[in-house]
Symmetry: C2
Subunit: 476 residues, 2 copies
């Protein structure tokens, strides 16, 4: 009721104020590589505005992705245009838009600018994911890393293995992603220039897999008898690899992206150690008591399965740390440690010639009081000891929103605009964006832009956004 009143009221206000008020230009975020703006202001007529393809552009008229983007951005630039035109055309006289003459030349610093959502620790309903994709595009993220399954739940509804979600999801009917849900996410992302990289993390983080796939997980022993609990995927059985081959075959056909994230992090060896069959396998393979060799054996097998499906593997850094023999095109993702640690790891991985993604300083699920976006902003992904060649192997980074304490109730304000700080680091020239204090007012402005576009981004500090009351939804 209040919202309606407020909206109507704003409307009357438009009549009174807009003829005298010139809307301020909004800050551009992330900072373009080159931008020159003159103080000359020109009135623009929305009806005459046109987007156009450059003559030498690879894309030309008819490119469906860009044509759809032009339409979306027209509505973002002139949010009141459709609202006012048909019924209230007399308002147009007052609705005057201006633009400063501006030239922008732009390209990303890093090719891989990812954001991870975790839909296993809490289920995220489809609108929350689609909304996140919208907001990602506004910050020029271009990879949605979908950490779709993990220990707590298995919401991916597999065509070939339906028991995985019917037994492993929080709820078999409501807390799942159907094939059509996944298609919709991929479609929505594609139109926004975002690729979707799914992660099927194993051999650890797979408790939920075991419910719908008997014999997949290692049976843990207490003394000489099974304890009734289960550990990581059992790497000693050929049935394991048959199943994974089947699952990955399906997954790589559903997700068209050239990358598949295989996980490989945090494998606890306790259960493997307890199991006599695993012990026997270790002896047979000559692994001694070094269970990292068993993990390597497993990871090499699934990386090879993935390669045979013509996909490139991404894995967490643990896989490199255990010195596994993995194809040179595998991408390693760094998630551990304080700056000194991840810098050393950046050096080691790139020295070995692997491409690397940096996530460690962008675990955005970690929160602290105040302006913690500043930490995300001041990361220097290429500031480590190494040659120029090594630096080029840093292909980008990822903001990770792990789901222990996050679901659809708090996802959006916790992500935005904090993730946007990392987004500028991944997109913009480092020298031109070296001052966190100069970034602050631009990011505040950008946060208001997000609010205006319907993203419930939280405030950076005291103040208000001009359009916050039109766009905000509080259900009552």
């Amino acid at each position: 009721m209040f919202l309606t009143e407020t909206k109507r009221f704003h409307f009357l206000l438009l009549l009174i104020i807009l003829h005298s008020e010139v809307e301020q230009a909004y800050a551009v975020w992330p900072m373009p590589q080159q931008m020159s703006q003159s103080t000359d202001r020109y009135p623009i007529n929305p009806q005459l505005l046109a987007f156009s393809y450059a003559r030498d552009s690879a894309a030309q008229s008819g490119c469906s992705v860009l044509d759809a983007a032009f339409e979306r951005y027209f509505n973002l630039i002139f949010p009141d245009f459709q609202l006012t035109m048909p019924v209230f055309s007399f308002l147009l006289y007052f609705l005057q838009y201006f633009v400063n003459k501006t030239e922008i030349e732009d390209f990303p610093r890093f090719q891989f600018r990812g954001l991870l959502l975790d839909t296993s620790r809490h289920y995220l309903p489809m609108p929350a994911i689609l909304k996140t994709l919208d907001a990602m595009a506004y910050s020029k993220f271009n990879v949605f890393h979908w950490h779709i399954v993990d220990d707590p739940s298995f919401p991916y509804q597999s065509r070939n293995y339906p028991d995985l979600s019917s037994k492993g999801a929080f709820h078999p009917m409501t807390h799942i992603y159907t094939q059509s849900d996944v298609k919709r996410v991929i479609y929505h992302a594609r139109l926004r220039g975002i690729r979707v990289v799914p992660e099927f993390d194993s051999p650890g983080h797979t408790q939920s897999w075991g419910k719908g796939q008997p014999d997949l997980l290692t049976s843990c022993y207490k003394g000489k008898v099974p304890s009734g609990t289960f550990g990581p995927v059992n790497p000693t059985l050929s049935s394991t690899y048959q199943f994974l081959n089947g699952l990955f075959k399906e997954v790589t056909s559903v997700f068209p992206d050239s990358y598949l994230h295989l996980g490989g992090d945090e494998v606890d060896f306790t259960c493997w150690r307890s199991n006599p069959n695993v012990q026997a396998f270790m002896a047979k393979m000559g692994f001694g008591s070094d269970y990292t060799k068993l993990e390597s054996y497993y990871m090499e097998n699934i990386v090879n399965i993935t390669a045979a499906l013509n996909k490139t593997s991404i894995v967490w850094q643990d896989v490199f740390d255990y010195r596994e023999r993995i194809p040179m095109d595998t991408v390693l993702e760094i998630w551990k440690g304080v700056p000194a640690d991840y810098r050393a790891e950046l050096g080691r991985i790139t020295l070995a010639g692997y491409r690397v993604l940096l996530s460690a300083p962008w675990y955005i699920n970690h929160i602290s009081y105040g302006q913690d976006w500043r930490n995300a902003y001041t990361v220097q992904p290429q500031n480590f000891s190494g040659t120029e060649q090594q630096k080029k192997l840093v292909i980008g980074g990822e903001v990770c929103m792990w789901g222990e304490y996050v679901d659809a109730t708090n996802l959006t304000p916790r992500l935005w605009p904090r993730a946007s700080a990392a987004a500028e680091r991944l997109w913009s020239d480092e020298e031109k964006t070296s001052s966190v204090d100069k970034a602050f007012p631009r990011l505040e402005d950008f946060r208001c832009t997000l609010i205006r576009r319907g993203i419930q981004a939280e405030p950076l500090f005291v103040g208000h956004c001009k359009h916050e009351l039109d766009r905000l939804v509080v259900v009552h």
Copy 2:
């Protein structure tokens, strides 16, 4: 679109499942003083359910507050009743409710269980405030401490001093609370057993007041000339007290509660010291260079104004720390320090015979990663050195949500269920609620109850709520 589909889907599911599923009893939060529950389950018919007044109850049939509460709670207990009855009456056969035979005797441990919202650092639209009142009632909070104005903005639209908001609010028309807004908040609160205590904090925290009330604030000097900036309220002018008398007269007629919060915290003396007129006043009054005496002088004056209006003052602890002569019925609110500090302050204030409110450990705007509700839960408000008589002077406490980093985008998930942890501490028996680990599953349950009632309370840990997808709103 997704929501609609999901809802329709749930509906079909009801037909299939509900005849065999018995809904689990929800945990009671905060823990009642006495509760005995038998394992006997009885089916209940919503149409025959009746709330009734005890024979010896002071309230009897016709009490409008309780009658309205009965109606609200009927709908909370049977959320699907109205939905299913008119159109889908055939469903009733399947919708079977059960209740365990339960006897509860209950009363609050502390009489004053408050929650502070700060509507100056960010404006909170009316629906956000009303929603918070709903959620407060669910956790048995009974005081809404409305920190309505402060340095950044003055959203209270005064009848007698309209310039205060027209010049001091973030926006003179949209970012204000009109007289009818305030009435609506008070009405909404009253029906939920919540009193509304407004705070007009002075002499510090008043920058926004100065915009609409010239000469109220102290003009700061740089050397012998005014610097153009302003400090706290000018305590040396009789016009100051005339204005405050007028404002408080209005405010105490608008807000019917017997308390008025006068603030009195964090007064910076730099500006007072710089001003030659203030210096002259100090000399005339014999205050020497002790500016705490000037502050005392000011606070005593406004506490007396308040007393003359038949209201009881609440002030922040600073007022006691400066040893001001204030009426013995004044309530002191403790906001400073780590546990050792606030315990000592509890001892000092109660030893002097004043009633006290504890807020220091419940600054819930401070966030940290993980389950920080545990800190709020383990507070022991009466655990300080003092007599039994002193302990009784602790009349309660307040959860404070200061607004530096909070507005309507993130208020609800940041408040709930974290504030509910403090609510149980303020309501329930301390010994019966001494285990934070035992509280955890009950609070998780209660969080799901909040979700079911439409409050976007954030998760405590990994998992899901049964009704989360029906109630959740993500705008797309």
